[in-house]
């Protein structure tokens, strides 16, 4: 089986598209496309909202509600949305399937992004916030110059965990006739072509890990060294730097903070 899978993956014909078949490269591109759209939308919604709730302390119930959304069964929601939305689109457009897919992915990505942004701001020590206002910063300056940079480690961990989930779950696009790496999984399953199916899974995992690595790199150069504990001398470090390895933990923390 391992040999067959290896054979399938190293077959150059599987990578290029033909008139009848879409190759790995193009499905990869499609997969990245679905994921990127969902993540950008989720970031645009979740980040400002999370920062705002953390900064003002208002509408904290929203964090709880958003976290409850995680409990929705993904496939169930997708099917429901397709049934409702798809009939409104006719002809050659695939919008009837694309929109439900993106909605499901956004619903998946917003909770970790929003609740981690909220928790990140909430975790800024009160003395630090107090000093920021006391120095004469306006509310916006406190948010932009103090709360946001201090929340970055948690924001990154939320975004990275959202990214992993979205990339993994974007396979369901294929469940509703769209492309993406999920195609190989569903086709493999339907045709009992297990090497193809396993290859699809491996490709999704490889993509998710590569993107996470990339984000880890961005994080490393964005987050202040004063927060990460990566300090030149092996000095005293009081604040533990939060990173994505503790993503699960920090999300738990976030949902507790919202209670």
């Amino acid at each position: 089986m391992i040999g067959d899978t290896f054979g399938w993956l190293t077959d150059a014909a599987h990578w290029r598209s033909t008139n009848f078949d879409t190759g790995i490269w193009d499905q990869l591109l499609a997969h990245v496309g679905f994921s990127a759209i969902a993540l950008v939308v989720a970031l645009l919604v979740g980040l400002p909202l999370g920062l705002w709730i953390g900064h003002t302390g208002r509408a904290t119930w929203l964090v709880t509600v958003v976290n409850a959304v995680r409990a929705l069964p993904t496939v169930g929601v997708l099917v429901l949305l397709v049934v409702v939305i798809a009939p409104n689109f006719y002809g050659r457009t695939n919008a009837g399937y694309l929109i439900p897919t993106e909605i499901v992915l956004v619903l998946l990505a917003v909770p970790p992004i929003l609740s981690n942004a909220y928790a990140g701001v909430q975790n800024v020590p009160p003395a630090v916030r107090d000093a920021a206002f006391g120095m004469g910063m306006t509310g916006r300056q406190v948010l932009a110059r103090v709360e946001l940079p201090n929340a970055l480690p948690l924001i990154f961990s939320g975004f990275r965990s959202a990214t992993l989930q979205v990339i993994a779950t974007a396979t369901i696009a294929s469940y509703v006739t769209l492309g993406g790496l999920g195609r190989f999984i569903y086709d493999g399953l339907a045709q009992q072509d297990y090497p193809q199916m396993i290859s699809g899974g491996l490709l999704v995992a490889a993509l998710a890990l590569s993107v996470d690595l990339l984000l880890a790199l961005v994080q490393r150069y964005t987050v202040s060294r004063g927060l990460t504990g990566r300090l030149p001398r092996a000095g005293r470090v009081r604040r533990e730097g939060a990173d994505s390895r503790s993503a699960v933990l920090t999300e738990e923390l976030a949902s507790q903070g919202a209670r």
């Binding site: 020590p125 003395a127 107090d130 000093a131 206002f133 120095m135 004469g136 201090n150 004063g226 000095g235």
Partner: protein
């Protein structure tokens, strides 16, 4: 000058934290607010820079009503130091110090070079400039907090228990340096503490508040110790206030006796009485018990622990030198630390009694 004009703060839950406070903090002086926990010190202080808005009353900065300008503009003109320093963890020390100049639009280069000067001024090595707050000890962070408050050279400083989270030795050091700094800068300072000793050490004037946010007494420290207005102030000021009050009485020229001395490395002298050991420049090193030492005088033979009274110091220091001395003879030195002679506690008590007789 800062003036509280019937300033009142009533919190939404009904707590009256500060009640019609009338108080003046004179220009160029340290005014200390002191009192038991919950008496409204922090609330009073934070009303000055409007971190808390008064429910009624006015707070004046010279001739300006503090309510007459946007709060953030007011705060940029007022230095603010808090208990846990509140340094920004994501910024280097030098950028922490330059916070207010950045807000005021000062260029990066200028703001940083001023910040470097200030770091030196508060006794921090310039090597700290590029570090982050997490790499500093509590005492060092507090110094940075003071430097940050001074960065835009505000005429007024508010300090809320800035030294109470550090250990006693460091606290003492920070207090001394703070007084030295204030000697150079002459800021108008309101300083909050719950520690009466700190209040007495630092304050030009000390305001004692009682729970409920009313003023019990404002006075210079010596007066507070010698003439508390009521039993609350007397109780708060503490039981050994008589002894502490001596800290404000200059001793004048202390009458000293010659004290026989020995030196390190010399032969141990004969006799039973403790002998004072000095170094080559007549600086006292400790006492020697001739009965328990042999041969020559060694460092390890010395009894230490006696404090030294400096000629021209306070009666408290003189009395303490006597009481802490192993021989019960208090050692008096000159400004350079060289031995002048010794005196006894009885002689200091005579001085105290003479001092208290009406002139």
């Amino acid at each position: 000058m800062i003036r509280f004009d019937r300033a009142t703060k009533k919190y939404p839950d009904g707590t009256v934290a500060v009640d019609e406070l009338e108080l003046e903090a004179p220009t160029g002086q340290i005014t200390v607010l002191v009192g038991p926990s919950g008496c409204g010190k922090t609330t009073s202080l934070r009303m000055v820079n409007r971190m808390i808005e008064p429910t009624s009353g006015t707070i004046w900065l010279d001739d300006t009503d503090t309510a007459s300008m946007p709060a953030h503009e007011l705060r940029r003109k007022i230095g603010y130091v808090i208990q846990h320093a509140g340094l920004f963890p994501h910024r280097t020390i030098v950028d922490n110090v330059a916070t207010v100049p950045y807000l005021l639009g000062t260029g990066k280069r200028e703001a940083r070079s001023r910040a470097m000067e200030l770091l030196e001024r508060v006794g921090l090595d310039p090597a700290f400039a590029k570090r982050y707050p997490a790499q500093l000890s509590g005492g060092q962070q507090q110094r940075v907090g003071v430097a940050r408050a001074l960065a835009a050279d505000p005429p007024v400083m508010l300090m809320d228990e800035p030294f109470s989270a550090v250990d006693p030795v460091v606290r003492d050091q920070l207090q001394d340096e703070f007084l030295r700094l204030q000697g150079e800068l002459g800021k108008t300072i309101v300083f909050v503490t719950h520690d009466i000793d700190e209040a007495i050490k630092l304050g030009d004037r000390v305001a004692v508040l009682r729970v409920g946010g009313t003023l019990a007494q404002v006075a210079p420290p010596a007066e507070l110790l010698s003439r508390p207005v009521d039993s609350f102030v007397a109780g708060f000021v503490g039981r050994d206030r008589g002894y502490r009050a001596l800290g404000f009485t200059e001793s004048g020229a202390l009458p000293t006796h010659d004290e026989p001395t020995a030196r390190l490395g010399e032969a141990v002298p004969q006799g039973h009485d403790l002998v004072l050991v000095v170094d080559g420049e007549q600086r006292p090193q400790g006492w020697l018990d001739p009965a328990s030492a042999r041969g020559t005088v060694e460092e390890s033979d010395l009894l230490r622990g006696g404090t030294l009274a400096t000629q021209g110091g306070t009666l408290r220091a003189a009395l303490d030198a006597c009481l802490s001395s192993p021989s019960r003879r208090g050692v008096v030195v000159d400004e350079q630390g060289r031995l002048l002679g010794s005196l006894t506690a009885r002689e200091v008590l005579d001085l105290i009694e003479r001092d208290e007789e009406p002139a």
